[in-house]
């Protein structure tokens, strides 16, 4: 207490509280952080979508002449979409398991989700490959190509980010670091994964159905 004797004690120190976060109220702080981050990601995609609708509104014909059929509903895309949607459910299943304290269930669910995510990325890469090699449709094929690859590419990059997050959760799950009370990372990655899924559904509708 040698230095402490010079410290001014505030009055009423006995009654008042030492600074501490209200961690027990409402949403967990880390989860709130993730939600805010997702909010900013929504704005990022909103910017890209705005570019899409801007170009589409200005064009006399959409898709532009000569490119009417390059981007169409094909089995690869449909299967990839189904896979991504299923992965959202498997992820949520994992969250429910760990809320009940079931670690094995969590690990299984996350493992499956991870696998589905990777398969989605592989299918997207294959789809790109076909588009470029068979249709010679690239990012420089006019505004349509630029938009298609930018939108789907940045979505893919986000899936990739989600896969990294899933890997971390998977590793920590295997190491038994989560419990019914402590699994914020699972909740956060799950929220992110659902967001990525929702963006894909929006993209799917805009690029494949409403075209």
């Amino acid at each position: 207490m040698s230095a402490g004797s010079e410290v001014v004690q505030l009055p009423h120190a006995e009654e008042s509280h030492v600074a501490q976060p209200h961690g027990d109220q409402g949403m967990n702080t880390a989860l709130l952080g993730m939600m805010l981050f997702i909010g900013s990601e929504v704005m990022f995609f909103a910017g890209l979508f705005a570019a899409y609708f801007n170009a589409r509104a200005a064009a006399d014909q959409w898709p532009p002449a000569g490119l009417e059929d390059v981007v169409h509903l094909n089995p690869i895309v449909i299967i990839a979409t189904v896979i991504l949607i299923i992965s959202s459910f498997t992820m949520q299943w994992g969250v429910w398991r760990i809320r009940k304290g079931d670690r094995t269930g969590l690990n299984r669910a996350v493992g499956v989700t991870l696998l589905l995510g990777i398969v989605f990325l592989a299918m997207q890469a294959y789809d790109y490959f076909l588009l470029v090699s068979e249709e010679s449709f690239g990012i420089n094929s006019g505004i349509y190509g630029t938009l298609f690859y930018t939108l789907t590419g940045f979505h893919g990059a986000h899936v990739f980010g989600g896969v990294i997050g899933l890997l971390v959760v998977f590793g920590r799950g295997i190491a038994g670091q989560f419990s019914a009370r402590h699994h914020i990372a699972v909740e956060a990655v799950s929220a992110y994964w659902h967001f990525v899924d929702v963006v894909w559904i929006a993209l799917f509708i805009v690029l494949y159905i409403l075209h």
Partner: protein
């Protein structure tokens, strides 16, 4: 009288190396805040030297010592550096230091992410300037309009990279502030008791969170157009050059409020303290801040009136509308000072200077909302004048007000008042001499972003005057730097609360210990410290219930009315012994040491010094 010293440090520093290591790896919001501010000031000097080069070139007609290309890079980097590497990091740094203290928290919500956000700044700065090493820095203006920016040199790629990095840093910072403000407030500190600086930081963070990602999307498009043959902005490929402007200004207009709202917050902190009155119309301030933030998203195309591609009346209307909440702030500021006891110390002078001069910039802005008039002065020096009245007379004045105000808290030392006033006079006069004549140049048709102008009647004189003013502004930084230098060599004797202030940051030591607070006073109004010093706050009540935020209505109602117009009696109350001890008034406190205002102390009953309490 005994003044406070530092709380024991967690760990003594033995060597410079250990200390450097401590700073480089710190996650303490105060150290990070200081690093933010120091880097920002460095960038201010660089951006300022760029400005002086610009002004020197423009002092007289003809091309003096620069080349076209050099000049274009100069104003591009001047604008970019001042906005993204000076004002934004400066406010982030200040908020980093002050917001956790003002909400009574021990640190930010995510300390490591906070450190990450900071370290992106120097990297981004290096990236921006590295353009010079690769064949030319960015040269398309700070607004980087496509398609010009698609065609120009490699410096633009580095500019894009740098700004994406800074944007990411800002987004992470914004998340951190929002989480801190929502989750880490002290017991009793309800939303409607938060200091105005916290409110403004909150709204600023929300603006950042929603505006910056859109710009990032724009940068992605620009980068793809530049490097992968994309067609976003190329009409030949079906793209649209105007799209860039929509995206940039959808970010850009909220951005200008990101630059100014913290200054509004600072002024709203300083005026009550130096008028010795509460803020007039607290709720109106909160409402006005929020509506400025919200309206900020609906006016972006007022930068694009002359493109012929936007619906003019809509954007004109909402632009005008922003004058209303800003006006509410102005009049409430005036009412705060009205009837007070104004102590004209340096922070207060800067706050008053802010009001006086930002008004000019705001009115310039209202002119610009007059679409037909904007057709005339768009992209002329009228706009340059507007920019600098809101940014130099606004943001820079706000920043210096904040620095003078919080310097004793951050360093434990009071900046010298005389030098502060010298700086104030030079900056005040210099700003007007530099930027007022630009109105007239703009009206007379002198366009911006030109290295050379025609020797029309009056243009030489007005430009020369503007250059003189610019150098005055530059010189006004010398007394400040000297002030900082000599102050750091003095002992840290400022005390906890040299200004007799209201908010929680003044309830701890200067500088605060790593963990910020030994203990917190009860919070029952937006002026917890004032209540403690002057108010008839019962010491034993309400601390815990208020913690859950249930009783704020009741306390807001009781605290004020009780001593409306009455001399302070609280000190005699034997039930409040602590009320006398807290205001630690340093010998260095400027014009007013609150001590002499207290009848009690003059009565020869000096407050019991600290021993009694430790």
């Amino acid at each position: 009288m005994a003044t406070t010293t530092l709380a024991p440090r967690a760990r003594p520093y033995t060597s410079t190396r250990a200390r450097a290591y401590e700073w480089l790896t710190t996650t303490d919001h105060k150290k990070i805040g200081v690093m933010y501010m120091a880097s920002a000031f460095l960038f201010f000097l660089i951006g300022g030297v760029y400005a002086l080069l610009i002004r020197a070139e423009l002092a007289v007609p003809g091309i003096q010592f620069l080349e076209f290309e050099t000049y274009n890079q100069l104003f591009t980097l001047h604008g970019t550096v001042m906005i993204f590497l000076f004002v934004m990091p400066m406010w982030t740094g200040l908020a980093n230091y002050i917001v956790p203290l003002q909400v009574g928290a021990a640190d930010m919500a995510f300390p490591r992410i906070n450190a990450l956000s900071y370290w992106m700044i120097p990297v981004a700065g290096l990236m921006l300037f590295s353009g010079y090493a690769f064949g030319g820095a960015a040269n398309a203006g700070w607004t980087g309009y496509a398609p010009l920016s698609v065609r120009e040199n490699i410096g633009i790629d580095l500019w894009v990279g740098s700004l994406v990095l800074l944007g990411t840093s800002s987004i992470l910072g914004a998340i951190n502030f929002i989480a801190t403000i929502f989750k880490m407030r002290a017991p009793g500190l309800t939303l409607m008791r938060m200091p105005l600086f916290v409110w403004n930081t909150l709204v600023t963070s929300v603006l950042l969170l929603f505006a910056v990602p859109v710009l990032t999307a724009g940068f992605v498009m620009l980068f793809i157009d530049r490097n992968y043959g994309g067609g976003f902005f190329d009409p030949a490929l079906g793209g649209n050059p105007i799209l860039w402007q929509h995206i940039f200004w959808f970010f850009g207009h909220p951005e200008v409020y990101i630059l100014i709202l913290p200054a509004f917050g600072v002024v709203s902190e300083i005026l009550p303290v130096f008028s010795r009155k509460p803020l007039f119309g607290y709720k109106a301030f909160v409402f006005a801040t929020a509506s400025i933030g919200a309206l900020g998203f609906s006016v972006w195309a007022h930068h694009m009136f002359a493109t012929g591609a936007v619906y003019l009346p809509f954007f004109s209307f909402f632009t005008f509308l922003i004058a209303v909440p800003t006006g509410i702030k102005f009049f409430n500021w005036l009412a705060t000072m009205w009837g007070g006891q104004l102590r004209l110390s340096t922070p207060m002078l800067f706050a008053i200077g802010f009001i006086a001069l930002f008004l000019i910039g705001g009115l310039d802005g209202a002119f610009l909302a007059v679409v037909p008039f904007d057709f005339h002065v768009h992209d002329t020096y009228w706009v340059v004048s507007h920019i600098h009245y809101v940014l130099v007379a606004g943001a820079v004045f706000g920043i210096f007000a904040a620095l003078y105000y919080w310097w004793p808290k951050i360093t434990g030392r009071m900046l010298d008042e005389r030098l502060g006033k010298v700086q104030w006079v030079l900056l005040f006069v210099g700003t007007n001499v530099a930027f007022f004549p630009q109105h007239i140049l703009g009206l007379d048709g002198m366009i911006r972003r030109i290295i050379d102008y025609a020797p029309n009647p009056g243009w030489t004189e007005l430009n020369f005057l503007s250059t003189i003013g610019a150098f005055m502004v530059g010189i006004s930084m010398l007394p400040f730097m000297w002030n900082v230098f000599i102050t750091q060599r003095k002992p840290a004797t400022a005390g906890d609360d040299p200004w007799d202030a209201n908010t929680l940051e003044w309830a701890t030591t200067s500088p605060p210990p790593t963990y910020n607070f030994e203990a917190l006073p009860p919070v029952r109004s937006e002026r917890p410290l004032f209540d403690l010093k002057y108010g008839a706050v019962e010491p034993h009540a309400a601390a815990v219930p208020a913690a859950r935020g249930e009783s704020h209505e009741e306390t807001r109602a009781d605290a004020p009315e009780e001593f409306l117009g009455e001399p302070v009696e609280g000190h005699e109350d034997p039930d409040v012994p602590g009320a006398r001890t807290t205001p630690q008034v340093s010998e260095h406190a400027p014009d007013a040491t609150p001590r002499e205002e207290r009848p009690k102390r003059e009565g020869g009953d000096p407050a019991p010094p600290t021993e009694g309490r430790s």
